[in-house]
């Protein structure tokens, strides 16, 4: 099962190098503005897949973790003016804790019950932050961007490159979990939790680990959002769009491997960015909905599964 990691790491280095090079060469800020969102969805889909794809626990609560990450940053900026790296780490920590809490829920809840409980997380989080004046309440809060750290000449470019690095880390974590004994255990849980438990798989520990890591990555992905928009408000931060994007990307790409969510997110978010600009925002949600249903019905193994079939046919 264990394959050599060298090609993967070379690929990762190439991706980060290309992002840095692009930031250096391309002057049009818009590409980075749009690219940032695409990369964010790569992280979210990868994080979603750790729990949803490997272990088979559907999490509709991506927005809750993402939003908690974003608001952790807001609190840190408001109180001590913490730098970006500190914001990301703190966001990962808090969202990881929330993930641990969600993991405890899996003790008793499976299938749709777990899924619905994660929807509840979004609404409860949103309500808490709507009623917390310090971070702007329902109207939101305006934040000032600090000047970018050299060698970057613009903050958006810096956030973009940072997000790409984070995505590579997220994919590496997911890949590690998938190929190690953790992934085998999680797949055993997905196929039959009772059988896994009986064969000595530490199901609870693995589920808690998957929930915590997944939550932490989602929170980290949300942490730079306040600086990216220089404005945060609860309704758009805890928006179901993030949950939909993460779930749909993983389902469309294929949930069995780390590659699926990456491909799915790149495809779906790029289409979304294009449709939003050229047609309308509603149309972009419709595209996601239709693609999700079509793939779930017709190609359960996603793009990765289709590619594999193609290769076998040859």
């Amino acid at each position: 099962m264990r394959k050599s990691g060298t090609p993967f790491w070379i690929g990762a280095a190439v991706v980060v190098g290309a992002a840095a090079l692009a930031a250096w060469l391309i002057t049009n800020e818009y590409y980075f503005f749009a690219g940032y969102i695409v990369v964010t969805f790569v992280i979210l889909a990868t994080a979603w897949n750790i729990l949803g794809g490997y272990a088979g626990y559907v999490n509709f609560g991506t927005a809750a973790f993402f939003g908690l990450g974003a608001y952790t940053s807001v609190v840190l900026i408001q109180s001590i003016g913490a730098p970006l790296a500190v914001q990301i780490l703190a966001a990962a920590l808090l969202s990881g804790l929330l993930g641990f809490g969600a993991g405890l829920l899996t003790l008793r809840l499976r299938g749709i019950f777990f899924a619905i409980a994660t929807v509840a997380l979004i609404v409860i989080m949103e309500t808490l932050f709507i009623n917390w004046r310090y971070v702007g309440g329902a109207t939101g809060i305006q934040l000032l961007r600090p000047s970018p750290i050299p060698p970057f000449e613009s903050y958006t470019k810096m956030l973009f490159v940072g997000q790409v690095i984070m995505a590579v880390v997220a994919v590496a974590v997911a890949r590690y979990m998938e190929t190690s004994w953790i992934g085998r255990g999680l797949r055993a849980i997905r196929d039959s939790e009772e059988a896994a438990e009986c064969s000595g798989v530490p199901t609870l520990k693995l589920k808690l680990a998957a929930c915590t890591v997944s939550g932490a990555l989602m929170g980290a992905a949300g942490a730079p959002m306040p600086m990216y928009l220089s404005f945060v408000e609860p309704a758009s931060t805890f928006n179901l769009t993030y949950s939909i994007g993460a779930l749909a990307s993983a389902m469309v790409g294929g949930t069995a491997t780390w590659l699926g969510p990456v491909l799915g997110a790149l495809l779906l978010s790029t289409i979304q960015q294009i449709v939003t600009v050229t047609i309308s925002n509603e149309m972009n949600v419709l595209v996601v909905g239709v693609l999700l249903v079509v793939f779930v019905v017709a190609a359960p193994e996603g793009i990765v599964g289709l590619l594999r079939k193609l290769r076998r046919a040859k």
């Binding site: 749709i112 509840a120 749909a248 239709v290 359960p300």
Partner: protein
């Protein structure tokens, strides 16, 4: 701030609201509680029903009449949805859980966006003689629209409960929920019974949608709040229990109404989900669990 004088009014309003919540959840109680279909699209179907009522309302139809007329149409729609769900997911068995959930989630999105494209994001409402009036009861004022919704809700719930416990088909539906293999051994076709039951659940949802637009204006994204409310009621009730659905609806309605009066509207949406989390954490089988 909250004063005790307002408490009776809060409770009365909560009871009316609670029966309404029971009625909007009863379709899900059948679809999810009895048939185990992860029907997250239930609230979206209901909002769709509300918009159909709105369209008929523009031709001067009374919303309740529209709801009744829509019922058979939604019944057929529901049978179609179940047939599709059965053929693509249930029949194949493995991994139906994750993919079935994703399917209904996608369906929710498609309905929601379809409504946005058709009607825009603005709030829509219907007009009828009883909307806007209110009944005076001493110091209290009860809006007529709540009373109308309440009456229809009670009739609907009682009707469905009787249907499930007294008629042959109704009992067959309950039998499917209890022991599907046994039913198959008796020579009955569980798929056809489930299809019928899902159609029934969807038909009832059309009337629930009509009540939804009587109670207040609707917008395409309204289904998101109702995901919490309907699932809270169904889970709290104990899957598939009709008596439980009414009790759970009342509990949710009264708690929401009290929270609304004590802390204000911004806290109310969290009540249903908070209640749901508590029930799931402490007593997942619900009040009247089977």
């Amino acid at each position: 701030m909250f004063s005790l004088e307002l408490l009776p009014e809060a409770i009365l309003f909560g009871v009316l609201l609670g029966c309404f919540y029971a009625a909007v959840s009863i379709g899900l109680s059948v679809a999810f509680g009895l048939l185990d279909v992860p029907h997250i699209a239930h609230p979206a179907v209901m909002v769709f029903g509300a918009y159909c009522t709105y369209v008929l309302g523009r031709y001067g139809w009374d919303p309740i009449l529209s709801g009744l007329v829509l019922m058979p149409l939604f019944f057929v729609l529901g049978m179609g949805i179940y047939r599709f769900y059965y053929e693509t997911f249930e029949k194949r068995g493995s991994e139906a859980g994750v993919r079935g959930l994703a399917f209904f989630f996608g369906l929710t999105l498609i309905i929601e966006v379809g409504l946005i494209l058709g009607f825009g994001v603005d709030q829509r409402m219907v007009e009828a003689a009883y909307i806007g009036q209110s009944l005076r009861l001493g110091e209290m004022r009860i809006p007529m629209r709540m009373l109308v919704a309440f009456s229809v809700a009670v009739l609907l719930t009682v009707g469905l409960t009787l249907y499930l416990s007294r008629t042959f088909t109704g009992r067959a539906i309950k039998a499917v929920a209890q022991d599907e293999p046994a039913l198959r051994l008796m020579g009955a076709n569980p798929v056809r019974i489930k299809q019928w039951a899902f159609g029934l659940a969807t038909g009832v949802t059309a009337l629930a949608g009509a009540m939804l637009i009587i109670v207040g204006p609707v917008e395409p994204s309204l289904d998101r709040v109702y995901i919490g409310r309907t699932f809270a009621v169904v889970v709290l009730a104990g899957l598939g229990s009709m008596t439980g659905t009414v009790a759970a609806g009342l509990i949710l309605g009264i708690s929401e109404s009290i929270v609304l009066m004590m802390f204000g509207a911004s806290w109310a949406p969290a009540v249903a989900f908070g209640l749901l989390l508590i029930v799931l954490g402490i007593r997942p089988q619900g009040l009247f669990g089977r």
